[in-house]
Symmetry: D4
Subunit: 169 residues, 8 copies
């Protein structure tokens, strides 16, 4: 990851669904470079997709929650399979701490959330669950600031720095 990779990620985010030509214009580097860099980022698994990014709240899922699960007898893979089959589970991670899995769940109403929670708890591999409801988004999902901090200033820097300055004619 160098500054150009970063600029491309930013350009892709700011100009959704833009083609290579537009990205070349925005970043100030040649179209071929844009294309080869994006291909590299995709091949390296850095870019894994292009959304669409869905706001679950706007899509009618008013109740979102973090649910932490304590797994019985180390049955993580069994729980993974159950969570994957459960449509209310948006994402899930195995973590350190007391709870073995933290998952994000979404439901349209509190009643539906309760049902989803009960289904998850009925698993013989879930010993205990704890849930907290999300009240608001404090910092929306993002990556750029983190990447910016660590991007290496590469050899192409001078020209690239130009690319970030306002462009004339």
């Amino acid at each position: 990851m160098d500054k150009l990779d970063l600029a491309l990620l930013k350009a892709l985010r700011d100009h959704p669904r833009a083609g290579p030509l537009e990205l070349s214009r925005v970043t100030g580097v040649a179209r071929a470079t844009v294309q080869s860099r994006i291909e590299k980022l995709e091949a390296a698994g850095v870019i894994t997709g292009y959304g669409p990014d869905v706001d679950l709240n706007a899509a009618g899922f008013a109740v979102q929650a973090f649910v932490t699960l304590e797994i019985a007898q180390g049955a993580l893979y069994e729980v993974r399979d159950e969570l994957e089959r459960h449509p209310a589970v948006v994402e899930a991670f195995a973590t350190t701490g007391t709870s073995d899995v933290i998952c994000r769940m979404a439901a349209r109403t509190q009643g539906e959330f309760q049902e989803a929670l009960l289904e998850v708890n009925r698993s013989p591999h879930v010993a205990r669950s704890t849930s907290v409801v999300i009240l608001s988004t404090v910092v929306a999902s993002r990556v750029p600031p983190l990447l910016a901090r660590h991007a290496r200033g590469g050899g192409r820097a001078p020209a690239f720095r130009d690319a970030e300055a306002p462009r004339q004619g």
Copy 2:
């Protein structure tokens, strides 16, 4: 949200960066319909962007963690401003429970993560923090199964059902 909206979201995900023509072909509905539906989803705030979806691990951020913060004296907005300025914070949510904010943080090494954690804790508005390291992704971030469960079968269902069946010629 009806079944066509859902099919479009799925098509957009499966055919990243595809244009309306290709989406029309994939979903089996007219290009104009595709376009107007997507515009509606964007206007309603359901679609908020088109990635790029970045795998932080592949991008070199090997240490990811959930950090829960207890906020002092209800200073949520001050903490929000601090977290927004902090590049290691990937996303953050205000929640019910004992901890007022759950944030996801990422760092390249355990040392960098420790530094980020200390910076967050130095805030006079953070009374206490608890962190758990993400060991693996159990269910990767997704939305479709949830939406599929609740999509309303609309009037256009018959033709649309065709669209989901395998296409000949």
Copy 3:
């Protein structure tokens, strides 16, 4: 509290806003007895009012929660005054345990609940709060079964037992 007191409480609940005459008919005891017993229950502080019982959910308060507060420096009375002034607080109790006060709060939306929670936490006398959202009512507020168990069978029992048996003519 004897069985007649209990029967009266039950009659008052089942026949809301009924007058002494109707209560006399329902319980099978003389109107004067009904009246004197009710007056005694009111005077003893057993009956403290006659509703109206409001279903907060039906009244538009979709988010209800138990919020437990840890009080700083034993400032229970200061917190009591603050909670009394706070319209989102439905009821509150001082308890044993880690949390000094458990209060029930209600709000129309998660956003409003978050605001109410922040206001409560901004108090210099609240050291820490924990909240859990009510997902559903498992047993609706009630008293009769408890009283029934302990009602003394008094001297008037025979006639009164009649009153409970189906009445002819």
Copy 4:
């Protein structure tokens, strides 16, 4: 819910067991309006009853407690049935958090409370319970302040405001 609904709820509370005529006089609106509004509030499930409100302490139940239950294997409905049959349970709610159910229990003595607690814990569906004893009421159960905050100022506001001002003659 508008200001008149609110005024009616308040009038019903302050003038327990008053008839429509008295409520009309108190609120300053026509008797027919009073009656139709109350009927609407009852039909909408906002008013669910008219007490009697019983002070458990005055009725001899000196020990009251919040008991939180962790439910085994998601057996919420089985626990609900058990709690409903248990006379010491005054009310119970399913919640988010670590405990699945919070119930309020009452007993005449600590010994009786212990017995009730043991009975609840003997259920195969209760994995664990935690209890805290209520030491005092900090804010007595109430609804008006909350409703007052959110009542819509309707078209009838001017006359109605009069109704709240002290009445002459």
Copy 5:
């Protein structure tokens, strides 16, 4: 309990193994009164014994601990029987909170304490235990200050007050 009862309890503590005559002299009330009062306190179960008070530490039990037990399936009485048979258990109480029983245990060494703890935990009725070691006595077991606060000043107060003042010849 009045002030004389209190003075007697204090005299009994300060003059261990003193006879009625000496107690009469110390408290300044007649020997017959002393005797009848002590008999009443014994009959009422207020005085349950006369030690000997043993300092477990001095007796060679260097490791003392509070052990809290979570009881499985409400099996309090079974656990009581087991604890009674266990010689390392000094006293035990059923309590509210998360732990159902708090017991004080003593052992001569950390190794013996560990063995005792394991034995208690092997019970099928003990779901979980938590132990904290006593590092020092902060306030030694006592009752007088508490009683003094609440002793009723009875009719015999004047003479009795004399008894507390220094006595001459």
Copy 6:
């Protein structure tokens, strides 16, 4: 501590306020031995007093509780002084664990207990307290079984064993 010490402690407990002669008869050892042994146990600090053992419940203190205190800034000695001055504190111990001090408190009513708890919490040296109410005594305070297990069988054993067998003549 050998078997005779143990037999003496037991005899002292079973024959409260007995003199050396009676103890000699009960234990079957010479009066001089009884006397010298008791003096040794007192001098070694094993026997610290002779009660009276007071049942706080029978003495009218219906509410007893374990209160655990988290001490601010390691101010254990300041807290000790405060607890010693507080009449509701029956005993207190510094312990390992999260709470620095565990104390037993007693009060006549829940209201008085709440007041005592608030007073303790008002101390600037108490950061946080947690309380659990004692519902019943599971194992009454005792020492003999523990001592019996560890008493050394000394050279005097044969004669002493006689002393434990039933005596004829």
Copy 7:
């Protein structure tokens, strides 16, 4: 780390204070290889010293404990300096979780341990501490099994395997 490195670490442990000649004989590789490998392991910081390994218990430190510290305001470096100056601290680590630092402490008696704990807690940078006493060693400190699992079988394997077989002549 390959199998030879591992064999050397094992030989160094099993033959404490052995010279290169003896290690050469034990491992069956040339003395020069032994020497160069050990130098490499030291240079790479894998071997950081050669004890002496001290058994704190045998050295008279009967009370050992894990003490977890919550650090105030992210002041980890200040706490590190304080812990380094504190002789009772044997080792300390910054960790994820609720507690920021876990340290192992040792003392000769419970009284000395209490004093050490109070000193640590008096720091303005320590918000809270929790301690657990070590009752016994379950698995003594070791590294070989872990290394053995991961040692790479290098090119020198055949001769080296001989070295592990019993030697003749």
Copy 8:
């Protein structure tokens, strides 16, 4: 342990793998004394070995963690056997508190650590585990300061004090 023992331990640490002659020179006491003292420390179990001290991080084990285990049914010895067989367990201690065993584990990657954790949790004797990742070493493992504090100044003190002063010629 006197000051000379301490000086020897320090000399052994500072001059790893030094022989008796060098230690005699460093400490300023006769070679025979050095040798007999070291033999005594070894015989008393104070010195248990001479490393080698391995830095697990440098040896490629980037993920180290404290894992606390709650043991089911007091099965400590069964768990001990399992942990001893598990190569990722570096050391383990039975402790007071909620968790019965605290063990230090090491792994090369987060994935390997997760696998090791799951294996430990699959034991029927492990009821629950909690893990925290070590982010950095705050105080490296050491013993001297603790010993120094408590070393007895023995009869040889004068000459020995010389030994600590800089030596001429």
